[in-house]
């Protein structure tokens, strides 16, 4: 009996590793499904070095904007979310269930309309604060300075990758968003949220996470990252131009890998 259990143990280790490598080979076989160049703004190094972990992963940074417009009730129904119409806040509190995410495919757009809109919103806000100071409404420059920092952050530091659509069928999304180097489709999760502002009841969705947002850096690219000067590292409080760009490939299973890394001069 014990002999049989040992044989099962060895077989399990063997089979599991075969399955893992088969998946990797399948994912990376032939041409990548998506190939995109992202900079440090979209693929960030960790802020602190972990002495206990010598590996390096880049974090995929993304944002959303105007969820109530594109991830509206119609889209929620399409994804099979149950939209309950609660009569009022009391009923909402009594019957509302903790929102649980659904597995979906998410379309991320690089340097597109949503990013431009975010820049425009920041510019409008800065103009508004400047006008408020001119009109004497604002007594100090705090809001104006904050708006100025925000605009610089959006233009120089923040990611330009925005979620613009979700769906169950990746093939349909690929057909719709087929411009190379502009869109990537990644597996992730989406949830439902409710807005209860006065008597207005609104359900909208939001992207709650991406399945793989930490991308491992293989050894051949480590020296590039290890040699980057820390003082030029951008942050929200001190936005600076990105130091590198990464060619990121996505395979048939929507699992990414780094194809190349280039440091900006």
């Amino acid at each position: 009996m014990k002999k049989l259990i040992y044989i099962l143990g060895f077989s399990l280790i063997f089979i599991v590793n075969i399955i893992i490598f088969s998946g990797v080979i399948y994912n990376r076989s032939k041409k990548p499904v998506f190939l995109i160049e992202l900079t440090e703004r979209e693929l960030q190094m960790p802020y602190r070095k972990n002495d206990e972990n010598s590996g390096l992963s880049l974090k995929l940074k993304w944002r959303t904007i105007n969820n109530t417009k594109w991830f509206n009730e119609e889209k929620l129904k399409e994804l099979g979310f149950e939209i309950k119409k609660y009569a009022d806040r009391v009923e909402y509190k009594k019957y509302r269930k903790t929102s649980v995410p659904k597995k979906v495919f998410i379309v991320l757009e690089y340097d597109g309309k949503p990013y431009n809109e975010a820049v425009k919103n920041a510019e409008i806000k800065l103009e508004k604060e400047a006008n408020a100071i001119k009109a004497g409404i604002e007594k100090n420059n705090n809001d104006f300075n904050s708006a100025k920092k925000d605009l610089k952050d959006v233009k120089e530091h923040r990611t330009r990758l925005y979620a613009i659509d979700v769906g169950f069928d990746a093939d349909i999304l690929k057909e719709k968003y087929n411009e190379s180097g502009k869109f990537i489709i990644v597996p992730g999760t989406a949830k439902i949220r409710y807005n209860y502002i006065d008597d207005k009841k609104e359900a909208y969705g939001y992207v709650s996470g991406i399945s793989v947002d930490n991308i491992h850096v293989p050894l051949q690219f480590r020296k590039t990252f290890d040699s980057l000067p820390k003082k030029n590292r951008s942050s929200r409080y001190k936005p600076m131009p990105p130091r590198y760009k990464v060619k990121l490939a996505y395979g048939k299973r929507f699992e990414p890998w780094i194809q190349s890394v280039q440091v900006f001069e």
Binding site: S54, V100, H216, L219, F254
Partner: protein, 363 residues
């Protein structure tokens, strides 16, 4: 004792038998001194010879402790084995994390894939040579750590989308190791993996992304019921305390799920109001905890009775807290808790007296 009977015993059963013999010898000495009973020389020699032969057979077959001194050393070995196993398994993880960044992908993969094979081979080798079982348990846990590292790190290196099958694979592997090395710790690890897999499957079938299975604690209930029933259908007599481990783990999982639901109605699958759901689960918690106490007494499963008692108290006191903590003076709150405990003492004492009366009636 015939050889075939020995092979049906577990190490725990064998140890209990030896302890029983030693207790009998001590008690016999006492009652002989007080002239309650007296055996002639032939009878004394027969009993002594029988017991010594039995102890020798059991010691040879199971490497058990035949006296108090050996027991003390064994206890020390158990603690050392547990701490050593946990420490070495942890060091496997940290060792790899410390150095993996400096290796090429090929070297990383080679280390990760070969480590569990080597560790399992080592476990097999030691198991055939180690009659105490402590070293094979230690190596078993290291093997499990190596296999876990194998899967997790390959996932990180190749940016693989996580899958709930990891719970099934690691759970099954831990169970296999538990059964070859008779290790309850690995059994519990395996049961955790299997119950997480059942729960994630239940969650997936209801449309929830599997990683968020914890947001619907009800998914743990079927897993708990299945695991509780396993010892009923599959006997684990040859394995030390496995039946008990299955039942205790399943009971704790069941009651924790009920407890969470009795405070978090918003996480339920049911469309009733959250307060109603919490009330239903609270009631279920009380009913099932009383049921566990009854079952434990009825079927001589003291561990289940204890789990039932503990959770009955937890349910009760958590409700007292919900009802009274905010407005009741604290001295009064704790006085009521204390009085409830005294009431419970009186009730249990009554149960105990009734059970003693039943024994006297039977005798």
């Amino acid at each position: 004792m015939k050889k075939q009977t020995i092979t049906t015993l577990s190490k725990t059963d064998a140890q209990s038998r030896v302890d029983q013999i030693r207790s009998f010898q001590t008690e016999l000495e006492l009652i002989e001194k007080e002239n309650i009973v007296s055996f002639d020389e032939n009878q004394q020699n027969s009993i002594a010879e029988y017991h010594e032969n039995l102890i020798t057979q059991l010691s040879t077959a199971f490497d058990i402790d035949s006296n108090k001194r050996e027991k003390q050393f064994s206890f020390g070995m158990k603690i050392a084995s547990f701490l050593g196993a946990v420490a070495l398994a942890s060091s496997v993880f940290f060792f790899f994390y410390q150095f993996w960044g400096g290796y090429s992908t090929t070297i990383q993969v080679l280390i990760l894939v070969t480590a569990p094979f080597i560790a399992l081979a080592g476990t097999m080798f030691i198991a055939y040579r180690d009659s105490t079982g402590y070293f094979s348990k230690l190596l078993g846990l290291i093997t499990y750590a190596c296999f876990t590292l194998n899967i997790i790190m390959l996932g990180q290196i190749f940016n693989i989308i996580p899958s709930q099958n990891i719970f099934l694979v690691l759970g099954v592997f831990a169970l296999l190791l538990a059964y070859v090395s008779d290790a309850r710790l690995l059994l519990i690890i395996g049961l955790i993996g299997i119950s997480c897999f059942i729960s994630t499957q239940a969650a997936s079938w209801s449309g929830i992304y599997w990683l968020n299975f914890g947001m619907r604690p009800e998914t743990f209930l079927p897993a708990a019921i299945i695991l509780f029933l396993i010892p009923t259908f599959i006997s684990h007599k040859k394995y030390s305390g496995f039946d008990s481990a299955y039942r205790i783990f399943a009971s704790i999982l069941f009651f924790i799920s009920l407890f969470i639901m009795s405070h978090w109605g918003a996480s339920s699958y049911f469309s009733l109001s959250n307060k109603s759901i919490e009330g239903i689960y609270l009631l279920a918690g009380f009913i099932f905890s009383v049921g566990a106490i009854w079952l434990g007494i009825r079927k001589s499963l003291p561990a289940i009775a204890n789990v039932g008692s503990i959770f009955f108290v937890i349910f009760l006191y958590s409700k007292f807290y919900d009802w009274w903590w905010e407005w009741m003076p604290k001295y009064l709150f704790f006085m009521i808790i204390g009085l409830t405990a005294i009431l419970a003492l009186i009730i249990f004492k009554q149960f105990r007296s009734d059970s003693q009366k039943n024994i006297k009636v039977v005798l």
